[in-house]
């Protein structure tokens, strides 16, 4: 039997996603819109962070939110109470996907008044593995870890921390009640991303929010 012929192609598997992400990025740049992709495990407090953020930044920035979940519209309902434009993507219709992709964001953009916004948050599906791999065209990826999750997590989910433009350590009001070693946690974040800025905050008490709001206001 004749052996097969090998054709070298060297193509990025996610090239199609990256093309759509670049289109999204161009569109955001034209509109002067800052887009932040928020990544964390389930329950780290992404929705709570956004709820606490909207109240503090809305006098200076017009905010919109795209929320990704596998199922239910509960997060979008929480955000909508703050009277900002919100679009819920439930990935169930995409086979229960555990992350958002550039094309799902493109679809969601048709449902949100982009021209009336300065700042758009994308609350990714709660997951520290898959969302890190997919470029959405965002300006910044913010990876968040709550202090209850354990100081070893940056080492276990390297890509989520490696690709981050900002790392948030959330729920710091709980530190006195936990056996978490904050120094070890900070060191583990540095091991994954030595140059990244890390903010420590609490959506419950508002601790650390001044630096976060200031970071969001940067062009």
């Amino acid at each position: 039997m004749e052996a097969g012929k090998r054709i070298n192609v060297v193509t990025k598997i996610l090239a199609a996603n990256d093309r759509v992400a670049d289109e999204n990025r161009r569109r955001f740049a034209e509109l002067g819109l800052k887009v932040v992709n928020l990544i964390s495990s389930p329950g780290a407090g992404k929705t709570a962070l956004l709820e606490a953020t909207i109240g503090r930044i809305r006098k200076d920035r017009r905010v919109g939110v795209i929320v990704g979940d596998i199922a239910t519209t509960k997060d979008a309902e929480r955000i909508a109470k703050h009277d900002v434009p919100v679009v819920q993507i439930t990935t169930e219709s995409f086979g229960g996907s555990c992350h958002l992709e550039a094309s799902t964001i493109r679809q969601a953009l048709d449902e949100i008044p982009l021209k009336e916004l300065d700042l758009l948050f994308v609350e990714n599906v709660g997951n520290l593995v898959c969302p890190a791999e997919f470029d959405l065209g965002e300006q910044a990826k913010v990876s968040m870890l709550s202090v209850t999750e354990g100081e070893d997590k940056p080492l276990k989910y390297p890509l989520a921390f490696q690709v981050a433009n900002l790392v948030i350590l959330s729920k710091v009001d709980l530190v006195p009640h936990l056996r978490v070693d904050m120094e070890a946690l900070r060191a583990n974040v540095r091991q994954m991303n030595p140059k990244v800025r890390t903010l420590e905050l609490s959506s419950q008490t508002g601790e650390g929010f001044d630096a976060w709001i200031e970071w969001l206001k940067k062009p």
Binding site: K5, V9, V129, L155, Q191
Partner: protein
């Protein structure tokens, strides 16, 4: 479980290579390079590819998945380190934070074999 999405992207990429004439003939195998940093489980990817390719033009095509180890290069002392159990980006030799991944982030179709 991003393997399903990656498998779908492999299928679409190969179909595009066929459509634009880069690949001619009946596809038998697709060679992938997958970096360990992507956290892709090769068995899951293989399985999802089989399920998603079934009944399409790539039904029965075999995936050959080569896993690429994670290698970090220090820009300060120029030493390279292969990482296995734990990944650390602060240089173990000189302590510099000025490092980069040399390999490990690959998500590539390297080659296509046709009959």
């Amino acid at each position: 479980m991003h393997e399903a999405s990656i498998a779908q992207n492999v299928i679409e990429s190969v179909l595009r290579l066929i459509a634009d004439g880069t690949v001619q003939g009946k596809v038998a195998r697709v060679y992938l390079k997958v970096g360990k940093l992507t956290a892709v489980v090769p068995d899951n990817l293989q399985f999802m590819f089989g399920v998603l390719a079934e009944e399409g033009p790539l039904a029965g095509v075999k995936l050959e998945i080569e896993e690429v180890p994670i290698r970090v290069r220090c820009k300060a002392c120029e030493e390279a380190f292969e990482m296995h159990e734990e990944i650390r980006l602060i240089c173990p030799k000189c302590g510099s934070a000025d490092t980069r991944f040399e390999t490990g982030r690959e998500l590539l179709i390297d080659a296509v074999e046709v009959d």
